[in-house]
């Protein structure tokens, strides 16, 4: 049951990603990326990682996508201005992907059936648990985040002011 759900969601994610790299129009590509990001959020939800699930939708599918779309509109590239996709490189990429997938299959077969699936503790990945870790054991990185965000704010102003 869970495996079926996983493969469906994973297929949607891969489909979105493929669509994204094959679209000529940058905006159509951006919208396909949303599909992929939401499907990833679904996988996080299946992993019981509630906080990450929310972050994925809120920050990536919401905020970053809006930024990407605004940026594309700001640059306003036309299809004519884009370079032709290099055909040779795409072939190499397809071969590489096939090789990687083959290696994965070989490893999967060699390692045999997985051992005992580790049991997830109660409340794992919930907002409370992650918050608890973040605010006690990982306090220092947490406070650093605020500095990083401050630097980001300064960067925003510098970047945007240059354009204005």
């Amino acid at each position: 049951m869970e495996a079926v759900a996983f493969y469906i969601i994973a297929a949607i994610a891969v489909f979105g990603a493929l669509l994204m790299i094959t679209r000529r129009n940058p905006l159509a590509g951006a919208f396909s990326l949303v599909v992929s990001l939401i499907a990833l959020a679904g996988i996080y939800a299946m992993l019981r990682a509630e906080l990450i699930f929310i972050l994925q939708i809120l920050v990536y599918a919401g905020a970053i996508m809006v930024l990407v779309i605004f940026t594309i509109m700001l640059l306003n590239l036309r299809e004519e201005e884009l370079e032709e996709p290099p055909a040779g490189k795409i072939k190499t990429l397809i071969i590489l992907a096939a090789v990687a997938f083959g290696c994965y299959g070989i490893i999967k077969v060699l390692s045999g059936a997985p051992d005992e699936v580790p049991r997830v503790p109660e409340n794992f990945g919930s907002v409370e648990k992650v918050g608890e870790l973040m605010l006690t054991s990982y306090l220092y990185p947490f406070e650093i985040i605020s500095v990083v965000l401050l630097v980001a704010i300064v960067g925003v102003v510098l970047l945007a002011k240059k354009v204005i």
Binding site: I54, G62, V66, I69, F70, S126, V127
Partner: protein, 404 residues
């Protein structure tokens, strides 16, 4: 939801032979479909009629009154008309994205209903992350709006979509910061937990808990209006300059779904405000359920009734605001958000923490809520007095009967 399922399985013994998960799923499916078809459609339709009638009264005209008694069936007529219209795509549009956009806007709006409570135990899924989920999903709507605005390949649509997106993302910040005082007081993100943390009496609601939540209540409500593109924040669809905003090129059923989403959003705004700040489904009767266990169901029903009544009242207030206040300019709208709401929300968070620490030390502060409740009561009273005074000055009669 689980309690409802328990109740149904208990009363229909043959269901006990089927695995419980499947029964739950079927009940959920049934409940969700019912909610979509009856509640949202009915609400969206009837509110569109109510709004036009209220607008009529406010502007000293009648409003729709031809179809059915008092024009009540107008919304059905409108819906049927749109159903029979041509589904049409402009030649310059990006066809795929143009056709897809209404679904995304509608699905994003509708998925919020998963965590909108209707009563004690009457919620589709009481997620632990409740209110957080609402914030996340509603940011998906932005993508749909941008998609429709851009793919139409029309200047009005594109401008409307861009403005709408900029406005929604800006107001998402004060709205989420205004929720934080409530989370601080509750210690949970679940919708039902937030409601349970408030008491049955109005002065125990979070809106009156302390001066900071009082301010947060207004920031949340006004910010939510802006996120829903409602007047005074309807710059994205300003009729006088942008025709209709991001949905200019849409026709027929696709257009209906945009409006569906907009009306449904009206209810979401109201229901969230009631949940977070106005006590949710709590009624004084909830205090006595333990004394009279038999009355449990009827108390639940009363709670649902009270919840919906409060929400509908807020919907009326939103409509009232729309037909009273003029539209803001873009720069004013941005100023309100970044220069007033965001700093005030930060102050609210800090203030609430200090208040919580102080209230633990000095329980006297608990009485502040009575004062705030009285202040809150004064606002509608003052408005009512002002209205009667205006009527007296204009020497006109007051018609309280809503039907002319």
């Amino acid at each position: 939801m689980e309690r409802l399922a328990d109740y149904i399985v208990y009363n229909l013994p043959f269901l006990q032979q089927i695995p419980r998960v499947i029964v739950d799923l079927i009940i959920m499916l049934f409940f969700a479909t019912c909610m979509l078809l009856f509640w949202v459609a009915l609400f969206a339709g009837i509110t569109s009629w109510v709004e036009r009638r209220v607008a009529g009264r406010i502007q000293s005209r009648i409003g729709p009154n031809r179809v059915g008694p008092q024009g009540f069936l107008q919304w059905i007529a409108d819906g049927l008309k749109c159903f029979l219209k041509e589904d049409f795509v402009p030649a310059a549009a990006d066809k795929k994205l143009f056709l897809l956009a209404p679904y995304i806007v509608f699905a994003g709006m509708f998925a919020v209903f998963v965590v909108v409570p209707f009563g004690d135990g009457l919620i589709i899924s009481n997620l632990n992350i409740g209110i957080f989920y609402v914030l996340a999903i509603s940011s998906l709507v932005v993508v749909g709006i941008l998609m429709s605005g851009w793919s139409s390949n029309n200047k009005w649509s594109l401008l409307g979509g861009m403005r709408s997106a900029a406005q929604i993302v800006s107001y998402e910040i004060p709205v989420s910061l205004a929720i934080l005082p409530v989370i601080l007081l509750t210690g949970s993100l679940g919708m039902q937990d937030i409601i349970r943390a408030q008491g049955p009496y109005p002065w125990q609601w979070f809106a009156f808990h302390n001066p900071f939540t009082f301010i947060a209540f207004f920031i949340f409500f006004i910010g939510a209006l802006a996120e829903g593109n409602r007047t005074p924040f309807d710059i994205p669809e300003a009729e006088s300059e942008l025709v209709a905003g991001y949905n200019t090129e849409y026709s027929g059923m696709r257009f209906v779904f945009f409006f569906f989403a907009e009306w449904a959003n009206l209810y979401i705004i109201a229901a969230l405000t009631v949940t977070l700040f106005l006590g949710g489904w709590n009624t004084p009767a909830h205090l006595y359920t333990n004394l009279f266990g038999l009355l449990h169901r009827s108390v639940d029903v009363a709670g649902t009734f009270v919840f919906i009544l409060k929400s509908l009242f807020l919907v009326f207030v939103i409509i009232w605001i729309r037909w009273t206040l003029p539209r803001l300019r873009v720069d004013q709208m941005m100023d309100v958000c970044w220069k007033y709401f965001v700093p005030f929300s930060f102050a609210n968070i800090v203030g609430t923490i200090i208040w919580m620490v102080l209230a633990d030390a000095a329980p006297v502060l608990g009485y502040v809520r009575y004062i705030l409740f009285v202040v809150g009561l004064m606002v509608p009273l003052a408005i009512a007095m002002k209205i009667t005074r205006n009527f007296r000055l204009a020497k006109s009669e007051i018609h309280l009967n809503p039907f002319i």
